[in-house]
């Protein structure tokens, strides 16, 4: 049942600005996040981390730590089962348990500064920290490597002796940091470039950036003597945490119950396990609940970030702007273990455009940095940055309006992406035209200011979602989903359920259920929750309505097909004497006396998520004396499908754009010569603060996704995709020089200004 059920103007709750159901607890301090939980009898755990970026672990002696008073358990990799290397065929995103168990606790080698090597649980955090100092680890220090392009060359220090580049025949005889390359192609690129009047080619680099969630990673594990475990953790997907803990520790799935705390930001950084398997093991070893909270420094050294890149992009076009060919090659640094989102690079590069001749290749390369995690539209912004920057330079060279250049080559319904994704009903042309007609596009610029534009594309995910809807006998309704609410999804779930039932939203209480009471639900990630889980909410609510109609039919002794459901009531068939409509509340009151409680549920694997496009326009001002860049005006026009909760759709767009500003201008990691991370706190890892950014004008274009009952497309990922490219373009226009590297920090800008000035004199 996929039809757009009602015209938008008839919606009572969908598309309305209503206060979120969990809001009061969050403005009064009552909401419980990961480290706000206390379990009686709990111990405190700390992790010993490698001070070396690349070192063989020769021995670990924990005897002195174990002997310290107050220490209840000490563990190393020896307490976690080993897992064999995954064999091909490899899925698009590789999550090899061989790697994950080693990332949780280093085995043969420490592979980055901060890699977990051992852990302690003690009666007090101070004792646990003291015990870490008593653990003796003997290392053979090896040469580290940080750059993905260098790491892929022969002769580079090798992270994994058992990793041989996949996809090369015959199998290479030497191990390599290059795990695999993914490519996409169509047409004949050489022929395409030969047809071009103008060709632009440039190298790009971008740095890894951290998700920067404010709430630290935190969990409490309580193991029982009967092999079952209760885990409380902050996560974007408690079912995924359960699955990973079960695999890493070789435990039965049903014996692990995971409850998701309120989550204080994730952005992809809370999609996987870090401390959870360690806390569980320490709890099993000590017989006590174990609490583990990571410090900010640990979070920077050992979790996230997204990939850094090196790339080269070449695009050719006719004088009228018709693109004839495009070529891209990009190196993704996967961090210590393979599995960076290289497929998304190829999907991202040129998929918004109908280019007849394209070749794109992305390399997944291991380096001595933390294993990369997802970060909002994982794999897309860095590829978008390189491709859109090249297109912007092409527009400059052609003397063509940058939006006209995109319109000339824009994909429409039915086109295919480079990875073979076929577009359904998409709103790209609407988005571009609305941006072109926005007052911002023609507003005058001041001195030292520049304007930048970029277009971002993201193909949303669907996947597994489970929902249970329970009608209580007073007529209130509980909607339980398996997805942590990271940015207001409970508001959307409530709106869709209320819309279906035809009742006031306050009747409905949306909750996040734990892993023991619902079917499997995938992560709150990839902008899938309002789409996939929302769809399951609609299904489960409709099941309730069917049961209520049947109940009314029984009560009235009429065929169920003659009973309608309108505005929160069962409507009797006409001509049946004095039968009066029965409200949800009245039916709820008689349900238990006439057959039992009423509940609906839905377990789905949602397909048909929509593609979305986000166009962004930004004005920046560059201080010629310091190189400091200040964004002055920012406009986002995005196809959101249908905005179920417009406040939170705008919020996603505004937040995504500002994360992109940080990526473009400030955020980067500083490593010393031994590859030790130097900026492990928010003071030196500079994320945007309120005074760094302007208001973000979020313009919502609604081209409903025909595959979803309410037209939802997903909104959270697209706004970060073009943001670094748009900001970079604005800076380049302000200073009159193409830069090709991120972040555009003040020293880099200042040097560019001075070089340009010196050349002119």
């Amino acid at each position: 049942m996929n039809e757009i059920s009602k015209a938008k103007s008839n919606y009572k709750w969908v598309g309305k600005r209503t206060p979120r159901p969990d809001g009061i607890d969050k403005v009064t301090g009552k909401a419980r996040y990961g480290d706000d939980m206390i379990v009686p009898g709990m111990l405190h755990a700390k992790i010993l981390r490698s001070p070396h970026a690349h070192a063989r672990i020769l021995s670990i002696d924990t005897s002195k730590a174990k002997a310290l008073k107050g220490v209840k358990a000490v563990m190393t990799h020896a307490d976690i089962p080993d897992h064999p290397l995954m064999k091909p065929p490899y899925p698009p995103i590789v999550n090899d348990m061989h790697d994950i168990c080693r990332n949780v606790m280093a085995r043969e080698k420490a592979l980055y500064d901060g890699h977990a090597v051992a852990a302690v649980a003690a009666t007090d955090e101070a004792i646990a920290i003291e015990a870490l100092k008593l653990i003796e680890v003997e290392y053979e220090v090896l040469k580290p490597i940080l750059d993905p392009m260098d790491a892929a060359q022969p002769g580079a220090p090798i992270l994994h002796d058992d990793q041989f580049t996949f996809g090369i025949e015959p199998k290479p005889d030497k191990p390599s940091n290059l795990f695999r390359s993914i490519k996409g192609q169509r047409g004949d690129v050489e022929k395409g470039f030969a047809e071009a009047d103008v060709i632009v080619e440039r190298d790009y680099s971008s740095e890894p950036v951290h998700q920067g969630f404010i709430e630290p990673l935190a969990c409490i594990a309580t193991a029982s003597e009967n092999d079952s475990v209760d885990l409380w953790t902050t996560t974007q997907g408690h079912f995924v945490i359960r699955a990973l803990c079960s695999k890493v520790l070789k435990m039965e799935i049903a014996k692990i119950r995971v409850t998701a705390s309120e989550i204080g930001g994730g952005f992809g950084g809370k999609n996987t396990v870090y401390g959870e398997p360690v806390a569980i093991r320490l709890s099993q070893m000590s017989g006590r609940p174990v609490r583990m909270v990571m410090t900010r420094s640990e979070i920077f050294r050992a979790t996230g970030p997204t990939v850094g890149t090196r790339s080269r992009v070449k695009i050719g076009a006719k004088k009228d702007g018709t693109i004839t060919a495009a070529h891209a090659e990009i190196y993704y640094q996967a961090g210590a273990f393979k599995g960076s989102p290289v497929g998304r690079a190829v999907e991202t590069f040129f998929s918004a455009y109908t280019i007849p001749n394209v070749y794109a290749i992305a390399h997944d390369v291991c380096v001595n940095r933390p294993r990369v995690a997802a970060y909002r539209a994982p794999g897309a912004p860095m590829a978008c940055y390189a491709a859109e920057s090249t297109l912007n330079e092409l527009a400059d060279k052609l003397g063509m309006d940058p939006i006209d250049l995109r319109l000339k080559n824009a994909v429409t319904d039915g086109c295919e992406s480079l990875m073979g994704t076929k577009f359904g009903h998409i709103g790209l042309v609407d988005v571009l035209e609305q941006m072109k007609n926005h007052p911002h596009y023609k507003a005058p610029l001041g001195p030292n200011q520049g304007r930048g534009f970029a277009l971002g594309y993201w193909m949303h995910g669907g996947g597994l979602s489970s929902v249970s809807v329970n009608l209580q006998d007073d007529g209130t309704v509980t909607v339980a989903t398996g997805n942590p609410d990271i940015g207001g999804s409970r508001s959307s779930m409530r709106a869709m359920s209320a819309e279906e039932l035809g009742v006031d939203i306050e009747t409905i209480k949306p909750v996040v259920g734990d892993t023991s009471v619902l079917g499997y639900s995938h992560l709150t990630a990839g902008s899938r929750t309002t789409f996939a889980t929302g769809w399951a909410v609609v299904n489960a609510t409709r099941e309730i309505i069917e049961k209520l109609r049947a109940l009314a039919a029984k009560k009235w002794d009429v065929p169920v097909d003659d009973v309608a459901w309108e505005a929160g009531s069962a409507i009797p068939p006409a001509g049946k004497g004095d039968l009066k409509p029965m409200t949800l509340k009245e039916l709820a009151g008689i349900a238990t006396k006439m057959g039992g409680a009423i509940a609906g549920h839905s377990e789905i694997n949602a397909g048909g998520a929509g593609a979305a496009f986000s166009a962004q326009l930004v004005d920046v001002e560059v201080d010629p004396e310091t190189g400091f860049v200040s964004p002055k005006r920012y406009t986002v026009v995005q196809d959101v499908g249908r905005a179920i909760s417009p406040d939170y759709v705008e919020g996603q767009i505004q937040g995504g754009a500002v994360q992109g500003i940080g990526w473009a201008l400030n955020e980067e990691y500083f490593y010393d010569k031994d590859a030790k991370l130097q900026n492990t706190g928010f003071l030196d890892y500079r994320m945007p603060v309120a005074s760094d950014v302007p208001m973000i004008d979020a313009v919502l274009v609604e081209v409903p996704n025909p595959n979803h009952p309410y037209g939802v497309r997903g909104v959270g990922e697209p706004p970060i995709v073009p943001a670094p490219a748009a900001v970079a373009n604005a800076v380049e226009h302000a200073i009159g020089k193409y830069m090709g590297s991120l972040p555009l920090s003040p020293p880099k800008i200042l040097e560019a200004i001075q070089t340009t000035k010196a050349a002119a004199e």
Binding site: G23, K26, D36, G265, A690, S691, M695
Partner: protein, 160 residues
């Protein structure tokens, strides 16, 4: 390590607690007084999530020692709503959807409250600089700034 006995006024109530010399006010609030509304985002005074009001001034509770708050008046997020009535800032944050994950919200509300006491009629830029010590990674600050300005206007006109 020896423990100190400290008496302070927290959200209007006189409370006694014990703490080690190295425990911060944030540790004390969260683990001794069970006031977990003040959040620990960094522990180094960089994120502002633990902002509380001490003797009328905003402080990062992670940078104040528990032992030094004797006889001080401390206001945390748990004391902002009075008698079941939300503070105008709390209401405006809900109305404007000025929070997503909500973990920075308690600190920002406390900072904004003191800021508006000093500057009841701020410009947008003044609000932005007033909140520059509080990181929010979700919202991009747009709706936060709007909520603070709207609350300021309401508080000016109602005289609260």
């Amino acid at each position: 390590m020896a423990k100190h006995v400290v008496t302070a006024v927290v959200n209007g109530d006189e409370v006694d607690f014990t703490c080690r010399t190295d425990q911060t006010l944030l540790d004390v609030l969260r683990t001794e007084l069970y006031l977990t509304g003040s959040k620990n985002g960094c522990g180094t005074g960089d994120c502002g999530a633990c902002t509380v009001i001490m003797n009328g001034r905003p402080v990062n509770a992670c940078l104040v020692l528990g032992a030094e708050v004797g006889s001080a008046e401390i206001e945390t997020i748990e004391g902002m709503a009075k008698g079941g009535e939300l503070h105008p800032l709390q209401r405006k944050f809900l109305e404007h959807a000025a929070l997503q994950c909500g973990v920075c919200t308690p600190g920002i509300l406390n900072m904004a409250k003191v800021f508006l006491e000093k500057n009841p009629d701020p410009t947008e830029i003044e609000v932005r600089y007033g909140l520059a010590g509080n990181l929010c990674r979700c919202t991009g600050y747009d709706k936060i700034v709007r909520a603070v300005m709207d609350a300021a206007e309401e508080m000016r006109t109602s005289g609260s």
